[in-house]
């Protein structure tokens, strides 16, 4: 995918959460939940609820320093 065209890839949360209804994906992921750096926007393929991605490696590393982010 040309990065000059697709500036930001769409989240796959919708696909994962539908798959999770069929029991294919873990109900929850406690890897970095409750961490402000674990959100569908910063980590494009992860959501705390409903349904987590099958591959936890997709989670981003938390930056060092105070946990702080301003968002909508």
């Amino acid at each position: 995918m040309n990065k000059n065209v697709v500036l930001r890839e769409g989240s796959k949360v919708e696909d994962y959460s539908m798959e999770s209804l069929l029991g294919g994906i873990a109900d929850s992921c406690n890897f970095t939940c409750n961490n402000v750096y674990c959100s569908p926007n910063l980590c494009n393929d992860h959501a705390m609820y409903p349904g987590c991605p099958p591959n936890q490696k997709q989670l981003i590393e938390k930056p060092s320093g105070l946990n702080i982010e301003l968002s909508f």
Binding site: S17, P40, A47, P50, K62, E69, L70
Partner: protein, 442 residues
């Protein structure tokens, strides 16, 4: 043949470039001026779109769910409705907010709980609480948030409740957190939170020491509490390595910069424990009773955007300029979520807590019935899924459809609270997307 999804929104950015933002999945695709005009003028004309959009961009728009088939948007709405039902009526976990007392050792002038009785939870109610938890047979787990007043004013009750709840065999207690002013943290409290491992503690401050000490004062001697709060945050970070400390900085129009100052202060003073320390802004909103909306001193969308801009520019605080996928509803719209007062009184919303007319019932089965009509309203009408304004809205995916308490106030009390996300403001979102793209290209 594809048409433009109603969730795909073309924007002309401030730097003269053009993008399409998809609220459904938060994708962002760069387009030319001609493509922008084609998408704006002929969103439903599949042939014109196919002809006027380059193949590369066309493919990207299809892949990112921006150009879609006829029924895709309808199906997506069905998906959102389904997810909302799953979230509202999930019966896996019982979520309890327990206020063992309404009493507080602070005398904040704006406190909305001042009128509440300063009662403490009795042993009888504590026993009934354990029965109430066991009675929810379908729920296999439960979680607790301690709330008040100041919950640590009732530390003895908290210990009894924790002991009682941990003896429940039929379901697992998965964790607890507390909303506290932290002024009553002692070694004994620390030991208790070690024994029953505390997940997080949320403490509110009203800005820098100068501002905070004007409002968050002790009831007994009217002295400010900033220093003792900071000292106790340090104690918590030192002695409870598995507990997250979350600092909510209340800001109004005049004290917005305090957020940056406090972020700086925490970073400098707690630099060895930053992994367990978070900070977020609490936007102060004060109701204009006459007009049934937030008054002009409240932090609304435009002030919030300006606050973001200032924090990024003046304090180098990261801002996520892309609207997030929003989770609809809250405890008020979730079947298995309750706020329990010191007398075993049950509520759905923290704003209702202590208001007997908005009490939905009691944990004791033989006590008087509560306001079941309010319970029904929250559960069935609390989110925007029964509101055509929301279900037809392109911003539904990135909007939580507003606070259920505000929605109920609009529906039944003639109030006029704005329930929409700030992303719906065209100028704000244009600026946010421009900032996002600008940061990318730096």
């Amino acid at each position: 043949m594809k048409v433009l999804s109603k969730y795909a929104l073309p924007y002309a950015l401030t730097d003269g470039t053009f993008v399409v933002f998809c609220t459904r999945n938060q994708a962002l695709v760069s387009i030319s001026a001609n493509e922008y005009h084609a998408l704006c003028q002929h969103p439903d004309d599949a042939q014109v779109l196919k002809k006027q959009i380059s193949q590369e961009v066309y493919d990207a728009l299809v892949q990112q769910k921006m150009l879609v088939d006829k029924h895709d948007d309808q199906d997506y709405l069905a998906y959102e409705v389904l997810q909302n039902k799953i979230a509202s009526f999930a019966n896996t976990e019982l979520s309890l907010t327990i206020a063992p007392t309404c009493d507080c050792n602070f005398a904040c002038p704006y406190c909305y709980e001042k009128h509440k009785r300063q009662s403490y939870m009795s042993d009888e109610v504590i026993n009934q609480l354990a029965d109430f938890v066991e009675k929810h047979e379908q729920c296999k787990t439960f979680s607790v948030t301690w709330y008040g007043g100041e919950p640590l004013m009732a530390f003895e009750q908290m210990k009894k409740i924790a002991k009682k709840l941990s003896s429940i065999k039929s379901k697992k207690w998965v964790g607890h957190s507390i909303v506290s002013n932290t002024s009553l943290i002692t070694d004994e409290v620390i030991d208790f939170f070690r024994e029953y491992e505390l997940q997080s503690i949320q403490v509110s401050i009203d800005g820098t020491k100068a501002h905070h000490d004007l409002t968050r004062r002790f009831k007994c001697n009217k002295s400010g509490s900033f220093d003792i709060i900071m000292s106790n945050i340090k104690k918590l970070l030192l002695h409870l390595p598995n507990t997250k400390v979350v600092v909510r900085v209340n800001i109004d129009k005049n004290t917005a910069n305090d957020f940056g100052e406090i972020a700086k202060y925490l970073s400098e003073n707690f630099k060895d424990h930053l992994n367990n320390l978070s900070i977020y802004p609490g936007y102060i909103r004060v109701e204009d009773k006459e007009h049934g909306c937030w008054n002009c001193n409240s932090v609304m969308h435009n002030e919030k955007y300006r606050f973001f801009e200032n924090m990024a520019k003046d304090f180098a605080i990261p801002v996520n300029w892309i609207p997030q996928k929003a989770h609809k509803g809250c405890g008020a719209t979730s079947l298995h979520s309750f706020i329990i007062g010191p007398e075993g009184d049950l509520y759905k919303c923290w704003n209702d807590f202590g208001d007997k007319e908005r009490c939905i019932g009691y944990i004791a089965p033989d006590k008087a019935k509560g306001n079941q009509r309010l319970l029904m309203r929250y559960l069935s009408l609390g989110t925007g899924f029964n509101d055509a304004t929301c279900t037809h809205c392109a911003f539904l995916p990135v909007c939580d459809t507003g606070c259920p308490w505000e929605r109920m106030s609009n529906l039944y009390e003639g109030k006029h609270f704005d329930l929409c996300t700030m992303a719906k403001n065209h100028d704000i979102l244009t600026n946010c997307l421009s900032n996002y793209v600008g940061n990318m290209r730096k």
